[in-house]
Symmetry: C2
Subunit: 376 residues, 2 copies
Amino acid sequence: MPVTIRDVARASGVHISTVSRTFSAPHLVNPETRVRVLACAEDLGYRPNRAARALITGRTHNIGLIIADIANPFFPPLIKAAESQARHRDYHVFVADTNEDAAAEEELVHALAKQVDGVLLCSPRMSNSLIEQLSREVPLVVVNRQLAGLPCVLMDVGQGARLAIEHLARLGHRQIALLAGPRGSWTSRELRRAAGAAARAAGAELTVLGPNPPTENGGLAQAEQVRRAGVTAVLAYNDLMAIGLLEGLDALGVGVPQEVSVVGVDDITLSRLTRPKLTTVATPTAAAGRTAVDMLLQQDTDFPRTGRGGGAAATVGARRTTAQVMLQTELVIRDSTAPGPYAGREVSGATAAGPGPHRRADPGTSDVVAGDVVAS
Amino acid sequence: MPVTIRDVARASGVHISTVSRTFSAPHLVNPETRVRVLACAEDLGYRPNRAARALITGRTHNIGLIIADIANPFFPPLIKAAESQARHRDYHVFVADTNEDAAAEEELVHALAKQVDGVLLCSPRMSNSLIEQLSREVPLVVVNRQLAGLPCVLMDVGQGARLAIEHLARLGHRQIALLAGPRGSWTSRELRRAAGAAARAAGAELTVLGPNPPTENGGLAQAEQVRRAGVTAVLAYNDLMAIGLLEGLDALGVGVPQEVSVVGVDDITLSRLTRPKLTTVATPTAAAGRTAVDMLLQQDTDFPRTGRGGGAAATVGARRTTAQVMLQTELVIRDSTAPGPYAGREVSGATAAGPGPHRRADPGTSDVVAGDVVAS
DNA sequence: TACTTCACTGCAAAGGTTTGCACAAAGATC
DNA sequence: GATCTTTGTGCAAACCTTTGCAGTGAAGTA
């Protein structure tokens, strides 16, 4: 029932190879023939069978998107942007949800490997060594995690944390808590490192609470701890936790921002809509999705996977591009932060370094994808 | 480089067909041979190539998910549930975003058709006739839209609207506005119909404002109109619009729920987190995703698409199952609704019919999938 | 005219898998 | 001990497409 290249060939009185070329190498066929073939194809509603094509070319024109939790509002904008960018380049996108489970991640990469030209690993929870191993099976781009030798798209949450801590310090907060994220999260480690350094520089004390699940409940559950810790400001791993904390503090009768200031990370849509509106570190999620797809597809055109064309020989020993892109973040100040107990007094320590793009490239790499600069 | 059935055959000293059978029809191969083959396959890390398999069986073990807007918080839970259910049955899922564009929907169905065993159309904006036409190209299940002769998964927003209006009437509201959704939305029409009937029955007056884009801005933009309309309660097409309206009314200095009560539809995560917390009609989004996948896969096993097995003859003229499932909704009362000007007075009109599941089946259909009942 | 070049097209193999059919050996039946 | 089943395996075609190679005829060159 489905119409194949053969039907088009019959209808237009040419050999199937001519039809094939009409689509995959139009310059090789006589213009007159071409229009005739195209007309017939149009008539019959012919669409090339990508599976069959993949079988011989080794390129599926599909990519895989492996996501820790689709329902986490951080990811949909990333998925949307990645899908859009991929389709723009005539790629289709498999999406799979791992429920934050490392084993599921591995299984999915294996399952998808034969069916895609590459995989985007978003905030993976696997071990580094496993990721490296998998990257030998199928081209990988990692989002939100840094791995030597692999292409990564990172958001500079370190910079974000610094901006947040400096903002809090300037407001007169000296006792600050950090609500850590899940174990194994690169972002959480980075946040901790940078927040620690910034607090030290600003003469503030940082208390780390966690690890916590990266959800609303994760924040809610820490409300009591936050009160006990005696801090006047909190930086949360992400907005979801911050919002949970908002709820928890409200239930405890702690006023935000009067008694405690709260800062989130991600700037998900939600954070504009809470009361009080959340001050947060905006991460360029959509740009990350776009960039990651670009890097994957770039890698794919540079070093095709299989195919008969002997391309294999070319890739042997060739080092893949391993550009690492760091996207800039920014602090969005809303209503959940307010002056603290030391307001008005001089901030000790050095002043903040100017913002500006921060980009890092792997040594030995020439190909650096430009990091998008994102408007808030 | 990729390991094929051929490598496994060589390693285990059998013919490739035996290897193939080991995976696709294990009962046909000697247990001893089977374990040997499986061991070799495991050793070599063999994974069947689904594209090659699809080429001959006609079944890709993929499905497509076409979504109006991934970033709309209504959809992620649906996507997540659908993907989980599909993978549970060893199917992979393509996800595509149409940006609420009907033309994109059509193009995507075409593009995906050859690569999937079926497509889930979520809240499509296309014309009915086009959907019917496309359904001849690839099995379709439609979510959030009713079409005769096609399998549909619907949420009983009519029931939800009735519950909402009755709730408002009981609270003493007589002037109610409905913020309509986008043109072409089945849900919006259904809402309007049911809300109109319920209002009439309760002796309230319903003002319809719209159509509006189904976004926060859609609601925000109508705040002024709502105030002018002189209503004391509003039912919005979805939570996003309701939340936008909350913002808009706040900006105008109109108190919610003191001056105006607001009810949304969907019960997205967000609606628990606004101030005031949103009263809303909860739609069983995840159940809809699961059910839709089940229906698609059911259809697919009943009437295989192509394949060599002569199954084609069997399907010729056979009517596909066109079960239509209506999933129950419920009203979740939170803080955005409060007594209105007629509070305490007797509600005119008939009392509410009891809730309870509401299910509809297409005449001539025997196969009705049970509708999940969803806890709030 | 004879030769080369060029543009176009056809031929057939290849890619990884499934599956109807044929075949062999072993067991069951009488 | 001949015949019939049963069980397990191999053979080869088929799915749809791409692509290196060879062949055709026409145009260009000497």
